[in-house]
């Protein structure tokens, strides 16, 4: 148990007042908690903190309390392995990670090796955000479960929505020049070609990852191409600067993004975000939902005012973990892994199923855009995310086939 996390836990869970509760199931959260990528990791960490807090309040996993510990990996694959080893060493059998496909790949690899080399001591990896399709296709693993839709599925949602918009005839693809960005572009080309041949791809551009400070030249290329919409998998600063440059140059066409909802994009763009910034996600706060869900959203915002309720899948993942433990009747990682396969839980925004063949969660996806006059705003602005017309993509429609050949123990 680490001090930082201890202090955090004590404050969050209020354990300090009640003495240390007996912790029987240890869960390790390995993601950046400091440094430049700290915010994205901390945003998810706080979601898990709240989710496990609720789980513990409702009887834990088969009556056992769950203890969540944060490990700071500084988004380095190597450092993640050190932290993974520390986590396993301190008794963690469930590993949560999401930031960066390179880190996820390293963890999958390390978990596979660990489980092979240390039978009886297995650990399970719960991936909440690393969306490279390979993890549930050719590189799939029994020990890995993904709760976020992967890049091809998200693209499926985007293209499904896009083909219903008859005013969009020309599409421009722009992405970061690395595995993930290339995968996004490939998926877009393939899916658009299959779904609607009349949509023309007028540009397919990769820019260096995290190095471009002024996207204006790219925006000018987009303008020159006469595109009606832009599809991008950009995240972080590349996301924000891209749409910012578009706003400056007066390019008012839809930007269909994977991570438009990430921290800071809406506030940076200001009113220019309305009607230009779109995102695809597994749920947004302004969807119709139960009162319990609204209460959760409000509780989250109250506890962590710096962040917005964004990582809905964190709560889904914890729900599934609980359901699997009950189904298995045990908290043993192997038993839970087996129980997770094919498991369905009723989420706030529709059912979530963990597909047995590749351990990829199947759930509804929603295309949303920025609007004013919404119930829940983001980034402490007056704007928030709102479902667009035809924006709900059913799980079945977003589903993608898998090439996974699962090897089970």
């Amino acid at each position: 148990m680490t001090l930082f996390a201890k202090a955090a836990m004590a404050a969050f869970v209020g354990l300090a007042a009640h003495g240390v509760a007996q912790a029987d199931v240890k869960v390790a959260f390995i993601d950046p908690l400091s440094g430049p990528f700290g915010p994205s990791g901390t945003g998810a960490y706080t979601s898990y903190v709240l989710a496990f807090e609720h789980l513990n309040a409702n009887g834990g996993m088969n009556g056992e309390k769950v203890e969540l510990t944060g490990y700071d990996n500084k988004v380095s694959p190597k450092e993640s392995l050190v932290q993974l080893q520390k986590a396993i060493d301190s008794g963690a059998r469930f590993i949560i990670q999401g930031n960066g496909s390179s880190v996820a790949a390293a963890i999958i690899d390390a978990v596979n090796k660990h489980n092979e080399r240390n039978p009886g001591d297995e650990v399970v990896f719960l991936n909440y955000a690393a969306v490279t399709p390979a993890f549930t296709n050719e590189a799939c693993s029994f020990w890995h479960f993904r709760f976020d839709a992967h890049a091809d599925m998200k693209m499926n949602a985007i293209t499904d929505w896009l083909i219903k918009r008859d005013d969009i005839k020309k599409v421009y693809l722009i992405g970061q020049d690395y595995v993930f960005g290339k995968a996004v572009a490939e998926a877009a080309v393939k899916q658009l070609g299959e779904k609607k041949e009349s949509v023309e791809i007028v540009g397919n551009e990769l820019h260096p990852l995290g190095k471009v400070k002024d996207f204006t030249p790219y925006i000018q290329k987009i303008q020159a191409s006469g595109a009606d919409a832009v599809i991008t998998g950009n995240w972080g600063q590349d996301m924000v600067l891209l749409v910012k440059a578009a706003g400056d140059s007066g390019l008012k066409i839809p930007f269909l993004t994977f991570y438009g909802g990430s921290l800071g994009a809406v506030s940076t763009l200001g009113d220019a975000a309305i009607g230009t910034l779109y995102q695809v996600s597994e749920g947004i706060t302004n969807l119709e939902a139960s009162d319990a869900q609204y209460a959760l959203i409000e509780e989250y915002k109250e506890r962590f005012p710096e962040y917005d309720y964004y990582y809905h899948r964190a709560f889904e993942a914890v729900d599934m973990l609980k359901a699997a433990s009950e189904k298995a009747g045990s908290n043993d990682p192997v038993a839970i892994a087996k129980a997770l396969e094919g498991l369905t839980v009723e989420g706030a925004y529709g059912p979530v199923t963990m597909r047995a063949s590749d351990h990829q969660a199947q759930q509804n996806l929603y295309v949303s855009t920025v609007a004013k006059d919404v119930k829940y705003t983001v980034d402490n602005t007056d704007k928030g995310w709102k479902l667009v017309e035809n924006g709900k993509i059913d799980a079945a429609a977003a589903e993608e086939p898998t090439t996974c050949e699962m090897v089970r123990p």
Partner: protein, 310 residues
Amino acid sequence: METIVFSLLNGMIYGLLLFMLSSGLTLIFSMMGILNFAHASFYMLGAYFAYTIMGVTNFWLALFLAPVLAGGVGMLVERWGLRRVHVNGHVAELLFTFGLAYLIDEVVRIIWGRNAVNYKVPEALDFTLFTLYGSNYPAYRIFILFVAVFMLVSLWYLLKRTRIGLIIQAALTHPHMVGHLGHNVPLVFMSVFGAGCALAGLAGVIGGNYFITDPAMAVQMGPIVFVVVVVGGLGSLEGAFLAAMLIGILQTSAVSINASFSDIFGFLGLTASSELGRITVAQLAPTLPFLLLVLVLIARPRGLMGEREV
């Protein structure tokens, strides 16, 4: 055609920003021999100071006050830090600024948070100035141009027409001479360091809302500033100007070239299916400055217009 016009225009603005940032470092590096690793941190401080001042008062006050504050911090750093390590040589000074960059990054995170702050272009300048080939041209970019040119002219006047300018010029080319002229060398150094940092701060004030103001902005800008200074040449503001414009335009134009290696070197038998052949000029854009840096240092160590070798 429009690509060329836009590339030149945007490249020029980027180049001017780079110059504003690197002119200070050229002064510091040439006179004091300190390759200030934290120089871009003062750029960041300028942006954050401006953000805070703008929140309380307005942009125009920030434009004036933020560079002054950044310069003040710079002077304190020189007085209480650099001067102390000076006896241990240039490597120690360089390492000191290296650590300082870390420190400023973290302090900025504590004070202003880990996320980007909402430092906006002032409303008075937030409009479209003209439309060119169907693309809006924001007035703020032209404002950057004006500020940069104004700074350029003032700097030129200061260096060529004033007494202190003459001293600085003498020191640029003959750093050992200043002491013999009977001037208070520590004071001159402190002022130059402060002025350099103030220039970086000014670049931050007008660059922070043009790009983005977040704790990573220093790290991203840092290495490129070195490139400008070294490529431009030691002791030469003209060289720094030339290098900044060159890099600004080079990087901006390279982005708009879609040609791949196989297109360019096809005659050598390079095919588009090979990994090397698929690389495009646009992809190479961010590596160009560093390629330039290495080539210049090897082939022409004094840089484009430098008086001395690095």
